[in-house]
Symmetry: C2
Subunit: 335 residues, 2 copies
């Protein structure tokens, strides 16, 4: 079998104003470079679209550099090694790496992780065993310092991180886990996954829905959404309650600065802690999570859904739909 | 000397709408009760007016019950014991207790602390050795987890808590302490007290003043003010920066809910922690602080100012002026 000499990728054609549109992306075909010493050629089998990528499409300094205009996007991907000039990675290995949004990638073997797909799918390394899973675990443990018996509220409960956060909270001994999601179907699904209660946040003021679901208040809020959800959670939090600020998807497409919670001052009297994080700030916890997650998966205590789109051409729309909440569980593009 | 049978106090005549006015207070003369078993009669020599009292004047549930309408206010006071039916407290003792806003108090000896005024003034127990001092210490240590070498920003730097916070931060090894205050005189004073830099927050956008004072950013923000200050601090905070949310005096007289910081989402990428507190949530640290503060006072590393008003009649205006920033250091009413 001859090796490919060309590949296709998605480039950022324009910085989105508000919600991204297909015109902000461009499919391009390019020559693949020759393999240098220590490099490998990977055929990507799955790639990730994640909410955090929206922030990188703006030209603002943040914790990761913005995507360059007219250059290929990148992100998590898993693929099969087609050629290797490294002793550490063999042809046929499956590897997790950071050059998604393209059908083939050439990169140093030192920047990939060989993964085992004998008992889980390749895409698991982009979801339940990957960044979203570690994010859920880090947010609950190191960031929110969840304790046994806590009442935990998770927004975006049907999302890639939210599905896992609810189940991990139960596994860690939460007395009650409440979720919010955008549709009745998603609510039904998170209840199946083990959430004790859940509501459709569009059905009424979040504050009232949360109050009904947790009349005695909450101890931990895992925030994937920001905005009205965060304000409602602050009102519901009890003494010494904690917020893990993980994402603010309600605001990612905002074109103006959005006001923060009007009740933030309640943090003083209630002794609340709000702590933001990105998963890369807690590198030591990834291995710990993967070990525990493997056990929970084997015991059937951890399940996760995928919403799968097919083909590189579908990736921009998959990302656009992700920001609009079209996914249940992890949004994956299979290449 | 015969004991008094009557006393005067300040009652809450009306719940203030916005900034309090003299009409919200009423001076009353009342009969003193007979001493019950275990009770003492105290002649108050100094009483405290504190920003937190403004919150208690609203009829809203908070960490302390609201003041009752048409009943005497209360708060920190130090006085001399005139009569005692307790073996634990002697006539002539000086005691710290919670029944301020009145010239005499009758209360159980179990609810007072005998204090030593041989080397410090009675009012020190309402300021540098009292609640404001402990608040500054708790905020820096347990809440903001200040570390040696941190760049620390304190708003309300000329206030009772702020003056102490800046000096304690230096004593604990901050590499640089920056303050904000409302007038040039206050700024001059906090620089004398050991702040490395300070600015008049009314002279321009706080964000710009802070940026000029700390071009490399800050690690800790001790927030006495809220509002624009908090937003500016969030922008200036570096990776893993921490905010001790102690007060929000800019908002205490607000009649509508004020929006939170528009840049709160920065907490995610920078891994920031915002933690609110009231000093009573950390009872174990009061003794530790007093011991260290005694040392710092003796070494001349800790100084604090008082703004003193004379007489119970002056107490309402002292409180009104406190909220408008008329004080440098602790606002005290000497009775």
């Amino acid at each position: 079998m001859s090796l490919p000499t060309r590949t296709r990728h998605i480039a950022l054609a324009a910085r989105p104003q508000g919600a991204p549109t297909p015109a902000d992306f461009r499919l391009e075909e390019v020559e693949l470079p020759e393999l240098g010493d220590g490099e490998i050629l990977v055929r990507n089998t799955v790639m990730s679209v994640d909410p955090y990528m929206r922030g990188r499409m703006n030209d603002v300094k943040s914790y990761v550099a913005p995507f360059a205009l007219d250059a290929p996007l990148d992100g998590g991907a898993v693929g099969e090694v087609l050629a290797s000039r490294s002793p550490d990675v063999a042809v046929g290995d499956r590897v997790l790496h950071g050059l998604g949004w393209r059908e083939h990638a050439v990169l140093p073997a030192s920047r990939v992780t060989v993964v085992d797909i004998s008992s889980v799918s390749d895409s698991a390394y982009l979801g339940v065993l990957g960044m979203p899973g570690v994010t859920a675990y880090v947010g609950l443990t190191a960031v929110a310092e969840m304790r046994e018996g806590d009442v935990v509220f998770v927004s975006g409960a049907a999302g890639a991180v939210g599905q896992i956060a609810g189940q991990v909270a139960k596994a860690l001994g939460a007395s009650r886990v409440i979720g919010s999601a955008g549709t009745a179907d998603k609510v039904a699904r998170v209840l199946e996954l083990g959430y004790d209660d859940a509501f459709v946040y569009k059905d009424g003021p979040v504050r009232e829905s949360l109050q009904a679901a947790a009349p005695e208040g909450i101890d931990v809020y895992f925030d994937n959404v920001g905005g009205e959800h965060l304000e409602a959670a602050i009102s519901a939090l009890r003494l010494h309650g904690r917020v893990a600020m993980c994402g603010a998807i309600s605001q990612y497409n905002a074109t103006e600065a959005t006001p923060g919670p009007r009740n933030l001052f309640q943090a003083i009297g209630k002794g609340l802690t709000l702590r933001g994080f990105i998963v890369g700030q807690y590198p030591d916890l990834a291995a710990e999570y993967r070990e525990r997650a493997a056990g929970w998966l084997a015991e059937g205590r951890l399940t996760s859904d995928e919403t799968v789109r097919e083909g590189l051409d579908a990736a921009p729309q998959a990302f656009i739909d992700l920001l609009a909440g079209a996914n249940t569980g992890k949004m994956i593009v299979r290449l």
